[in-house]
Amino acid sequence: MPVFKLCMKIIQKNLSSMMIYVAVFLIVATLLSLNGSKVQEAGFSQEKTNIAFLSEEDSPLIDGFQAELAKTANFVEVPDETEKLQDALFFRSVSYILRIPKGFTQSFMRGEDVRIEKTTVPNSVSNAYLDLNINQYFNTAALYVKTVPGITQEDLVRHLKADMESNTPVAMKADARQDTDNGFSANYFNYLAYALSSVLVLGISAIMLVFNDRDLSRRNFCSPQSAGKINFQFILANLVFTVVCWAVMVGFCFLFDHRNMMTRNTVYLVLNSFVFTLSMSSISFLIGNLLKNRGAISAVCNVVTLGPCFISGVFVPQEFLNSTVLKIASFTPTYWYVKANNQISSLASFSFSSLSETYTAMLIEAGFAVAFFAVSMVVGKKKRMSS
């Protein structure tokens, strides 16, 4: 099998540049995956907001309100000076300053329209929640004042306390709960797209470039080896290289995260990565057929692998990407690979219906593999005919 051995030697010669990609990938994937483990939602618990509570009057209503507010807020002591209050907001020691103006209680008990002064940090979710609580308290109180004429502040506070104690329990509704943490493998397999595609493009296009050399292909043609034999050995070598690359990359994941590797999620992640490997090897075939010199390999490799990785959600989650970018990315197998990975890692049940989207993404990846392979065959044939 001289052609097969030759292909292996060409790969060996280019191994150092491929190893750079693998090493960088392993370091980055390990670091990022360890930091980026997915938090699984298992229940609901109330969070408390830090607020500065400034009241210019004392009354049973205000005391009752403060006691109720204490359930959803931490009171932070801040001197009532403009500069210090501004500092407290700026340094986030409080995110909400609430001021009860003088005469508030009297006006409220008379049923007048009253307002509380508030100063908050912008775009805070917890502040919005606090607003809801305050409005709920005083709206309920206003209802009592309106419907029970002559109600005392003490009675009002007592009624409000009883009303506010009736909570709505929150329970997480889910079909099932994942027993394992797929965070590492999900991130690892997403990052794998970059390193795997880079190594495949570097290796396969290096082989293609050598065999597409006009003088060498003519020289091979003069030998007693049939074109079929040469092509068989050539394709076999490329397949072996592809599978070995895939196995090594997946193998590292087993090494780092062996405890979670026997889950069905990981099996599907591995399957998805194999389909993606096939599509990337087809693209590498095409690149190898289009390239004319060795110097262009690494430049093209970076453009062809890094570009799709950036727009397909390998480095930045797909949820954060613009819809136009994702639409463009959907013309690359990387997008479907990452999409399938994200779906697989969040799967808790493995029925056909829950896997259907994943299968669709994998089929699209396989479609890319077939399409690129067909195009590369046509380009290769045209090239041979012209030489």
């Binding site: 030759l6 030697k9 050598v210 003088d215 030998s223 007693p224 049939s226």
Partner: protein, 310 residues
């Protein structure tokens, strides 16, 4: 017969690259295909090797029709292309081993053949070198080693000495003669007439895809009227003396330029003596004097009216 080409026609659009060309190469010959650039030498070789489809004609090698899938024939052919065809990723040894491996699957047998080929081209000190590290001459030698390692019966060399230094050129030419002595039939194409003259036992001169002469170098030179070219260095030759010289018997032409008198004489003996006698009689002083026999360039010039390197 090792090669028989009959009535071969190859066209590139309107251009006729080979025009009803026929040739035969017998066993044990060093057959030279000589012609200027673009005369059709490489096209003939490509057709013989089935690298090119041709429009008309028949090609037989080892008395069997040659075809792209004639693998039994290809097994006994060694080819050394005009452009060096080696793998930059492989060392000298690995390159020869690869090309030999295309013909000889047996590893042990191949090892011996590869060693012999390295010895033959004198690349022993460079066996672990990558092609990038080799000079042009060494690279050509590697190219030859890759083509001959499997000990073929027929070796086709297409301009193997292009852009090679004189030392490597001599080395290559000596090697070709040695291969022939060891039993290989050689087809050698070149536009360097000196090389062809030096090593070939039979020569075919091509021009514009047509054979214009065929035979041994002696036979080719016998085809032309020129017998000898005599050059005399002299500083005092008058016009009437030159005219008188031209009238001497057996003189084809005489020119005097830059203190050099060049006299071309026809076939026959005592041409030099007759000219020396003329110079003495006319008291023409002269310095160096030398005589040259006609070259293949003279043959080409007389047949086509142009120089081989035009």
């Amino acid at each position: 017969m090792i090669i028989r080409v009959n009535n071969l026609v190859k066209r590139y659009g309107d251009l006729v690259a080979l025009d009803h060309l026929s040739l035969e190469v017998k066993e044990g010959e060093i057959f030279g295909l000589l012609g200027p650039n673009g005369s059709g030498k490489t096209t003939v070789i490509n057709c013989i090797l089935s690298l090119l489809k041709y429009d008309k004609g028949e090609i037989e090698i080892f008395d069997q029709p040659m075809a792209p899938d004639a693998y039994d024939i290809k097994r006994d052919i060694g080819i050394i292309m005009q452009n060096v065809a080696v793998f930059e990723e492989l060392t000298v040894y690995e390159n020869i081993d690869y090309f030999c491996g295309l013909y000889v699957p047996d590893k042990a047998k191949r090892k011996k053949l590869v060693e012999d080929a390295i010895d033959f081209v004198g690349l022993n000190d460079f066996r672990k070198f990558y092609p990038k590290k080799l000079s042009g001459g060494l690279l050509r030698r590697l190219n030859i080693a890759c083509g001959i390692a499997h000990r073929p019966k027929l070796i086709i060399l297409d301009e193997p000495t292009v852009a090679v230094d004189p030392q490597s050129r001599n080395n290559i030419l000596e090697g070709i003669v040695r291969l022939n002595r060891e039993g290989a039939t050689i087809v050698y194409t070149s536009h360097y007439m000196e090389e062809v003259e030096q090593i070939c036992t039979r020569i075919m001169i091509l021009d514009k895809g047509r054979m214009i002469a065929d035979g041994s170098k002696e036979e080719l030179k016998a085809m032309i009227t020129l017998g000898e070219k005599i050059t005399v260095e002299t500083f005092s030759l008058r016009e009437e003396q030159l005219s008188a010289l031209k009238k001497l018997p057996n003189i084809v032409s005489a020119e005097y330029r830059d203190h050099l008198l060049v006299v071309k004489s026809g076939k026959g003996q005592n041409n030099l003596e007759a000219i020396l006698d003329f110079l003495k009689r006319n008291q023409i002083t002269f310095g160096k004097i030398y005589s040259e026999l006609p070259t293949l360039n003279d043959v080409f010039l007389e047949i086509t009216g142009k120089q081989l390197r035009d």
